[in-house]
């Protein structure tokens, strides 16, 4: 046994997979990574599989079967127009995922760029950018989203843009702090000593080193973005009927809360479970990507 260990240390074989592969292996062993990852996988599967897995057409109206409680025929029951809720929920997952991803990509791209420039671009750039960020943060979140939607007009896309704008300042702040912390690190100074330009150092050296933090942050903001977009849809400013977006479904359903609980429960539970899953997954991701854990 000891011979084998010695041998392993002495030879310079291939390393045991990349950092990424190692992180993935530990993610699979992580309890909340398993649960959260499972939920996320189901969501992604539903979103990608499309209509082929739906038992009914999510948009077709069937007034005879309206407001039917859950049964073997309709797993989640039917809504006030007789549409199968199970199919609508499954179909709606693609909107949920799209909102989460698109708005986070918008927030991250602009937020990271702003943060990098603020942290590394000198005193005036820092002042200017951070004051913009402060202004964005000073608005109550929902009010900010409403303002953006009011400017661009209500639709699914403007909801995503609005949520993206709302998420920008968080990224900008976080990355600015990280840049300030890394700016005087010796490996950054080494690049400077070699003659690297400002932009090369910012985007080539500092960005890769703060990206893991961004991935973790994103895993927590995606569910928040989904909730915010659902809220916008609930206010009638996001996805428009008949799109089976979960937030929009809640609005239509709320009038039947007393007589047909399942119409509300289906989209409500869908939002709840997917947000919970994503949060669990984000937690696991944070544990797994922690640099201190990396070398294990």
């Amino acid at each position: 046994m000891t011979d084998m260990i010695l041998e392993e240390q002495q030879t310079f074989g291939k390393p045991t997979g990349s950092n990424f592969a190692r992180a993935m292996r530990r993610l699979l062993r992580h309890r909340s990574g398993q649960v959260g990852g499972g939920v996320v996988l189901v969501l992604v599967f539903c979103a990608l599989a499309g209509e082929s897995i739906l038992p009914y057409d999510p948009l077709s109206i069937d007034p005879i079967n309206r407001l039917k409680p859950p049964s073997a025929e309709h797993f989640f029951g039917t809504d006030e127009l007789g549409r199968d809720l199970f199919s609508r929920i499954l179909y709606g997952s693609r909107y949920t995922l799209m909102i989460g991803l698109v708005s986070t990509v918008i927030a991250a791209t602009f937020g990271i760029t702003m943060g990098l420039l603020a942290g590394g671009g000198g005193k005036w750039a820092d002042m200017l950018i951070m004051r913009v960020v402060d202004v964005l943060l000073a608005f109550p979140y929902i009010l900010l989203l409403l303002a953006v939607v009011a400017i661009l007009g209500p639709s699914l896309w403007t909801a995503m843009i609005a949520v993206g704008v709302g998420g920008m300042p968080g990224y900008a702040r976080l990355i600015r702090g990280e840049v300030l912390a890394q700016k005087d690190a010796e490996y950054v100074e080494a690049m400077r000593a070699l003659g690297a330009s400002h932009l090369r150092i910012l985007f080539g050296t500092i960005l890769p080193n703060v990206l893991p933090q961004m991935v973790i942050y994103a895993s927590f903001t995606i569910p928040l973005a989904i909730l915010a977009a659902a809220a916008l849809s609930f206010l009638g400013l996001g996805a428009q009927p008949p799109i089976p977006e979960w937030g929009a479904m809640l609005v239509d359903a709320r009038t039947f809360l007393r007589t047909a609980w399942w119409v509300v429960a289906a989209p409500g539970m869908a939002i709840f479970v997917s947000i919970l899953g994503m949060n669990l997954f984000g937690n696991a991701l944070r544990d797994v990507l922690d640099p201190k854990e990396m070398s294990k």
Partner: protein, 325 residues
Amino acid sequence: MTSQPLLSLRGLSAYFPIKSGLMQKTTGWIKAVDDITFDVKPGETLGLVGESGCGKTTLSRTILGLRAVQSGSIRFDGEDLTGMSLRDLVSKRRDMQLIFQDPNASLDPKRRVGATVRAGLDIHRIGTVRERDERVAEMFARVGLDPSLRNRFPHEFSGGQRQRIGIARALIMKPRFVICDEPVSALDVSVQSQVLNLLKDLQEELNLTYLFVAHNLAVVEHMVDRVAVMYLGRIVELADRDELFDRPQHPYTKALIDAIPAATPANRRHRALLKGDIPSPANLPPGCPFQARCPSVMSKCKEKMPPDFVTGGNHRVACWLAEDT
């Protein structure tokens, strides 16, 4: 020794402002590097010694243009680097490279070591990508690393190996002048000698000139041709190695040499150890910066800064004790 110096510093100073109050007004200066003058001849190794916080690192960074110069001049190969535009400075910097103290901190943890070594070539767009990779492999072999390890990350290497990577990163630019900023003080003793010998071999092979910053005098004795002793931002003594170790003149140098541990008790010298701490560089008293700790302090020392006295050829010392000799 009539050849033109490769690097020559004249009255070089680098200060850090002390800011305080609401408006961040500059209320004072920390004289990290103060009025430094010396030459480095091509092919030699000049040792720069001094205790922590005396300005060794700031001096090395200032020479490379990484810190602002307060006054004085830096001439490299006959050209004045102070006041040079950033663009010219960057191209000039190809000839001057830096080997860092701590190889754990100076290598980008997210970058494969091959790419780290290649960075200089990438920045200055030297050769095609293929040629760069070939040179990286060559350089790896030269510093004693297996070129097949290029695609690993820094955390997969030992301290000594990481320092070899740091050396490869600096030397791949084919510099003429290399500043070694305490290149072995972060390494295990067993690895130190390996790295030092590697640096010596490379100096011969590549005809390098070193400015060797260190606080370990045993290491300095092994490596350098001449030694400059630094105290609180100033050079207090500068001499050929043997001259300095055999006949130190400045009381600070004497104390430093006395502090070298002897291998056997029989060889133990009479020790004149220093008392007290270094005074704050923010508010120095007038006169010699060493007055507070000097065993042979005179009233003169508290009034006037001692100038550089040149005694016997290459020996330069900034101390009033040397005035008469």
